[in-house]
């Protein structure tokens, strides 16, 4: 199991060819309390940089992007009833989608925890 981070403030926890994707504490703090989360349906094929979900605060909607190419396996159903889980536990219970990687070599372009901490400053 390896943890990766993106410059779009997402994290991926990778096991084999599957990743759990969410937003970082930094992103959650910036967005504020979320009121709505909508994920793309299971089976959706996405390229790196395409939206896998939309998260909405009182003020604004923000896309969550696929960090690498792949297919959405599942969205976090708990967020439909309580989107604030993303705000309170973004790197745990507030995960957003699970994702099957179609090109794991793309992971090499992402940051590890140390690099991400430096990136956020």
């Amino acid at each position: 199991m390896t943890l990766y981070f993106t410059s779009e403030h997402e994290w991926l926890r990778v096991e084999g060819d599957t990743a759990v994707v969410g937003i970082t504490q930094h992103a959650a703090d910036e967005l504020g309390e979320l009121v709505f989360v909508e994920t793309k349906p299971a089976g959706t094929q996405v390229k790196a940089g395409e939206a896998v979900a939309v998260v909405e605060s009182v003020k604004a909607a923000s896309d969550i992007y696929a960090p690498v190419d792949g297919e959405i396996v599942d969205g976090n159903a708990a967020l439909a009833d309580d989107p604030s889980i993303v705000s309170s536990d973004p790197q745990g219970a507030g995960w957003i989608v699970t994702f099957r990687l179609s090109n794991p070599a793309q992971l090499d372009g992402l940051m590890d925890a140390v690099a991400y901490a430096a990136f956020v400053g």
Partner: protein
């Protein structure tokens, strides 16, 4: 989040930083979007207790008649706005709009009548244009922008308890009354009004007193600082227009459902009918109706439907009948809330429309404004 060094600061900038304000650019100022509690908690705090807002970025301007007779200032201002200003008694406030010749709205504003002058409060983003508009058109008056005055809003059901602890006269004021109050030694021009739908006050005071007075108000444990984020969600639930979103140069006051702010004396047959820019269009609309109206909107589900979202008559998303002009999640209703313009045949309260959100339809009902009942002390 860094803010551009070219941004202007209000007299409360240090206070915002001391209280952890998340500063964002707004109308050329660095303004607090929110504080540590966040928008949802700040919104609810105003509905339940009291919030303190810094709105010092707004424009304040004094209009003095060269003749010395305040009625001449009122008559002069009536050349630019559709409200009855002559009948506005000293120490009362009234809402109106600067209109343009095509019937649209250049800005909306509050007018306070004082014994010898008028005091106007205008939107931050429009204030330089408004000052020029006044100077160009009111040659019979002295138009004095007041950049050295700050403006605070104290809003919420416990606002009277807090303000009357400084000056007991606060409790005697009714909605839209104006009174000189002394708050911690500072002489303040206070109106019982606001932009939240709650009871409350707006407090104009010298910039040099603003930080001290704000900190004194915050000594009351029920008072918390509230940012622009919650200000927006509060005013949206209250059905109040945001200039640049819900009203602008292309919307008339009648389309915007603001005809209550055009008193009888300025309407056809009134003592001083017309005489403001675009009067012919607006008075005609008052009699014959308008092709579209600003309405409240309640989308179903939890997803906010925001500014710019098209509105359709049915789920086929074929027959466009309107557009959302403000939309957010309403923390008091715990549901999405919106306002927008809808073709008059579809603008009746209870009409079922469909908003387009990310390519799909969201059932949306036309609802009476305000979406959350106002609690003014009339």
């Amino acid at each position: 989040m860094g803010t551009d060094s070219s941004l202007l600061h209000t007299p409360l900038h240090t206070l915002h930083q001391d209280f952890g304000g998340k500063m964002v650019p707004f109308a050329g100022y660095a303004m607090p979007l929110q504080y540590a509690d966040g928008i949802m908690a700040e919104h609810r705090h105003v509905r339940e207790h009291v919030g303190l807002f810094d709105v010092s970025h707004m424009g304040q301007v004094r209009i003095r008649p060269r003749s010395g007779h305040v009625e001449d200032a009122a008559l002069a201002l009536e050349r630019l706005v559709p409200a009855d200003i002559v009948a506005l008694k000293p120490n009362r406030q009234r809402y109106t709009q600067f209109t343009n010749p095509s019937g649209g709205i250049l800005d909306d504003l509050m007018v306070i009548a004082q014994e010898d002058c008028l005091l106007l409060v205008v939107n931050a983003a429009c204030k330089q244009a408004d000052f020029a508009h006044l100077q160009d058109n009111l040659a019979d008056c002295l138009v004095e922008p007041l950049p050295d005055r700050a403006l605070l809003a104290l809003q919420g059901p416990e606002a009277q308890d807090v303000l009357s602890s400084f000056d007991a006269d606060a409790a005697t004021m009714r909605f839209m009354d104006v009174c000189m109050l002394e708050i911690d030694g500072a002489r303040c021009i206070v109106s019982r009004s606001g932009y939240t739908g709650e009871d409350g006050y707006e407090i104009s005071l010298s910039a040099k007193d603003a930080d001290r007075v704000a900190r004194q108000l915050l000594q009351h444990q029920q008072v918390r600082l509230i940012g622009l984020g919650a200000r927006d969600s509060l005013r949206l639930e209250a059905g109040l227009c945001l200039y640049g979103a819900d009203i602008d140069e292309t919307t008339t006051p009648v389309e915007a459902a603001l005809e209550w702010s055009i008193q009888k004396s300025r309407r056809t047959g009134g003592a001083r009918a017309g005489g403001f820019p675009g009067a012919d269009i607006k008075l005609d609309q008052l009699e014959k109706g308008v092709p579209r109206r600003r309405v409240g909107l309640l989308p179903t589900g939890r997803a906010p439907v925001r500014h710019g979202a098209p509105l359709y008559a049915d789920a086929a998303l074929a027959d466009k009948v309107g557009e959302v002009t403000s939309g957010a999640f309403g923390p008091t209703l715990e549901a999405p809330v919106a306002m927008g313009y809808v073709a008059t045949p579809h603008a009746g309260i209870g009409t079922e429309l469909v908003a387009e959100l990310r390519g799909r339809g969201v059932a949306t009902r036309v609802a009476a404004l305000p979406l959350v009942p106002a609690r003014f002390r009339r």
